[in-house]
Chain length 436, copies 2
């Protein structure tokens, strides 16, 4: 018989989620154009074979503005990542005006020719927008090892520039998709009342692509975020790094970084009253800005995690009671990366043993007799021992689109959340198919 | 078109494999009984439901002898691991006489009752063998969270003790299997000539179980190794730790350690002439002993890696040119743990991009323009760029039971090898099935 406790234990409380929810963009805008001071377009330039498939996105700020970016740490970084880093002088922030994203070709493993093509792309966009090439960032996603053709940029970028609008943000979100099954956009707003910007409402929004799974062609994570809050470039970069760290970098499906991951954030300041200064990084307005940014990034990150190939469930792993932030992260990531846990979710199996094996080998410090685990809000392990649960209720709960796993290590106060998806037959089929 | 080099590059040389090959046990012996001074038995005691299934193994040394052991580092360690550690005074080595292994029940997540059951098991075996309980080690593998019944030990251990023989080593190898599709045994011999033990031939042998995949019941790695070389306990432990580090710990399939992993090594000294001293740890005889031990462990480790659920191929990942041993290991492990690489092997896809993404995110220090990759001896990447290869030849080579991936990071001289298997539909089916 399974070891049983005589009284049903209380569920673990969900890990604190301090950031408000993000929402879809308002009517007539896209995620990247909901904030004031930005326009966008998404067109078919010809990088992709499928008829009618949008494959070129252009996002342009009305004025040069503060910009920050975070890129993949993968040693095999692509040409557009290298060139965009150049544009920001290697610091990750500066002033920029526009970003050009093409799907269908990653311009990766393309050597010097690829770098040149990425620089030419920036120049073509600069000419069309009317700004210096140094103010244009570039990103690409798609097949690797194939030379990036420039003709589609030569004809497409001017067409996109002529079509820029606030409503064009929706097309832009579609134009950057590769393996995504749907466009991913999110918006959050916050008020300046009582924070030194009375009467102002600020917006943070963004679009992203990435299914959390890396395709044969390396389906990359790309996000373009915008805000109409006034934030100086270096403070913007700090906020972006923190937000990415708690969102996109907490998504893990089968491989954490591709060669092309890029996340851009532009701040126009257009929602501040004329002459209002940039947010004090230590003040309340900046704090609200960071909350809104986190909400947008987490919404986009969760959308990517749940959109993995063959995925049927978003899986959220909350770890609490860790001795250090690194322990919390290691434990959560071990669970989220475990094919055994992910196939168990797919098979609707509330088996805590696999979760235990994952946290037990993660390197996190804890004692097994202190460990507690809940699956979908149902206690399954207390004190390192099995807790009986209602199997029928478990099956009912497995019908939900999100499966939550809570782990309390009982070794401290640190906590974190990591997102992933389940591992299914379709994943093997899609990724095991012979390259055509 | 794919970027092409005009002259076909030379293949990377395979990573040095200095240890000689191990062989199956000789007729009339098992892996654990090929060395002189050991007998074994494998019987059906009743832990498992299937009729006729052997589930209790006993390995006994003729005399108390030097013993060393290495156990799982998983925080969720099982009762038999805790008790065996106790028996060796927490040092990992000492003097022992026997090891009892049952399959069908892992005695894990069983609390104090489980610890007591493991200690009782040792006592039962001690009584049957005629030695102190402190000289008996225990191991279990099978379902977790279920109380370990003692009746099968009470009736089975004396029966096993009465059946001990050299030939019984084969039955013992079968009795410890759970998800294995075949028993795993290996033997290596070395001469004492010119090393201070003229005229002596020494043997190292062993049996192991573990399919490299962790089942819902946590199919564990257990190995019982024996030698008739004279080696003192502390030196024996050092040799075992090094051998395990280069073999079992280099096998990674979906999760590196279960709650029950145990590896035991006994040294009877029975092949040394009477009165011959234990091997000098700095002398040539010990060096030959370590080579033989590595050969046996690597043979068993490769067998485990290739026997994963649903596996169709052994996958060997060789990384060379790393700046540090840790870098080599991180890079090899990233490739071997990547579901994208493993599904590509399953799909007979010689796609180097997935391998590149894995090493690129591994944390190993290198520059992409220095990276070289071969798949099955065919160059596919040089200087970080694609090399054209014969697709038909690749398909032919994929028919072999072992797929070798060679990576040269071009950043130093360190190298390592990690083994895994491919990821198939069957894996998802087996591990996604609802627990009955």
């Amino acid at each position: 018989m399974m070891m049983q406790q005589t009284t049903a234990p209380a569920p673990l409380r969900p890990v604190s989620a301090p950031f408000g929810a993000a929402v879809p963009p308002p009517e007539g805008a896209g995620g990247a154009t909901a904030a004031r001071g930005f326009r966008a377009a998404g067109i078919r330039a010809g990088f992709r074979k499928e008829p009618g498939r949008l494959d070129l996105a252009l996002v342009v700020a009305d004025e040069p503005c503060a910009c920050a970016a975070v890129f993949t740490k993968n040693v095999f970084c692509s040409a557009p990542v290298a060139v965009s880093r150049e544009q920001l002088d290697g610091a990750g922030y500066g002033t920029a005006r526009a970003v050009v994203v093409n799907s269908g070709n990653a311009n990766a493993a393309t050597g010097e020719a690829g770098l040149e093509a990425a620089r030419r792309t920036a120049q073509i966009a600069a000419d069309a927008v009317g700004c210096p090439a140094s103010e244009v960032l570039v990103a690409s996603t798609g097949v690797i090892g194939v030379h990036l053709p420039l003709d589609p940029f030569v004809s497409g970028v001017p067409a996109a520039a002529a079509a820029l609008s606030i409503a064009g943000g929706s097309d832009a979100a579609r134009a950057i998709m590769t393996t995504d099954t749907r466009p991913k956009e999110a918006v959050a707003t916050f008020s300046g009342d009582g924070a030194g910007y009375d009467g102002c409402t600020f917006t943070v929004g963004g679009m992203a692509k990435g299914s959390g799974m890396i395709m044969p062609d390396m389906a990359t994570m790309i996000a373009v975020l915008t805000t109409d809050a006034p934030v100086a470039p270096d403070a913007l970069h700090g906020a972006l790094v923190r937000a990415v760290g708690e969102s996109f970098n907490k998504v893990t499906v089968d491989s954490d970084t591709s060669t092309n991951d890029s996340c851009f954030l532009f701040a126009s300041g257009a929602a501040a009253s004329g002459g209002a200064p940039a947010f004090d990084p230590n003040g309340p307005a900046f704090e609200r800005f960071e909350e809104a940014l986190h909400a947008v990034c987490q919404s986009l990150a969760r959308a990517m995690a749940s959109d993995g190939e063959g995925a049927t469930r978003l899986v959220t792993v909350n770890v609490s009671g860790a001795a250090t932030p690194a322990d919390a992260d290691a434990a959560a990531r071990a669970v989220a990366n475990s094919p055994l846990v992910k196939t168990a979710v797919y098979g609707h199996d509330a088996n805590w043993g696999r979760i235990a094996a994952a946290i037990g080998k993660s390197g996190a410090t804890f004692r097994q007799e202190d460990a507690a685990i809940d699956i979908m809000g149902m206690p399954v392990c207390r004190g390192g021992l099995t807790v009986a649960f209602d199997e029928d209720e478990a099956l009912r709960r497995f019908e939900a689109p999100e499966v939550v796993i809570d782990v309390d290590l009982g070794a401290g106060d640190e906590e974190t959340t990591v997102w992933t998806c389940d591992l299914t037959h379709d994943y093997v089929t899609i990724n095991g198919d012979y390259r055509s």
